[in-house]
């Protein structure tokens, strides 16, 4: 295991913790998007570029968008 692997693993651990400790849902949707990119980098570094691509499009784009839309709807009511 190289230095890069360890570094990315630590970053993902920090990112995941940051998602949990962000209490405001709006800010959380942004943090989870950033965490999605970190996970994508993790998969890429561990030589799974296919999974990395899916992770980025779903975790960093689609999921936060759905959360934002749901929040917008919830705030209206």
């Amino acid at each position: 295991m190289e230095l890069l692997h360890g570094l990315v693993l630590v970053l993902v651990a920090v990112g995941g913790t940051a998602v949990v400790f962000t209490r405001d849902p709006l800010a959380q949707s942004m943090v989870v998007s950033f965490y999605g990119i970190l996970l994508g980098i993790l998969f890429f570094v561990f030589r799974a570029p296919d999974v990395a691509l899916s992770q980025i499009v779903v975790g960093a784009v689609a999921l936060p968008t759905m959360i934002l839309l749901a929040l917008a709807k919830a705030n209206q009511e």
Binding site: M1, P49, D50, A52, L53, S54, I56, V57, V58, V61, A62, T65, M66, L69, A70, A72, K73, Q76
Partner: protein, 253 residues
Amino acid sequence: MSFTSRRNLFFAGVLGFAALFLWGLRGLPDFGRYEGVYGLTLNKVGVAQTHATNLVAAVAFDYRGFDTLGEEFILFAAVVGVAILLRAHRDEAATDDAKEKEDEGRNVPHTSDPVRVLGLGLIGPTVLLGLYVVVHGHLTPGGGFSGGVVLATAALLVYLAGEYVALRRVSPESLTELAESAGAGSYAVIGVFGLLAGQAFLTNVLPLGTTGHLNSSGTILLINLAVGVEVAGGFSFILAEFLEQTLLVRERV
């Protein structure tokens, strides 16, 4: 439950988890060591058999194409389910007079100019990237699913750069619905090619072409395209439905 007892429960859980986790870690093979028979075999014969340089695509759309067909229809069913739920809700809202009056007075938030300019500039490159990822699925990482979602984010950019009406114009419901179902259906139809050739369902019976060329790998390329169309259609469709829910835009018929 009091704070102290909850904390004690938490620590008990942490200890139990840590013990099991460490126990499990000790039994893991070393980092980077892989002993899966199928994986090792496919690494040797996969490219020669399917002429696809992206073995992930070869596995997903050829060797276990039938499993992926099932996954494809899970996505299809999920999109249809979301649409049905959201539409029922929308009709309820539409029949409610008081709610309707409230909706008319609602201001759709104004998008700032920098966001609009950036969104507009990104639409072209996003569409191009999405198409690239879809059509090169058998050669490089990516494929129908990732590329399809990238294409759907182009629809999101249209919404950001313009207005909801613009999104409706570039991805009308009839088109996204058609893309979603036609894409899912094509996958099954491609599978029938194998039956027509007297072999098993989803057998790769088309000419495989030259390894590394865009036009190669037979049905893997075709299925990738079908999945790309389905996912792009399905995700834009869900996006439009969600936006409709959120904004409750009244369409002028």
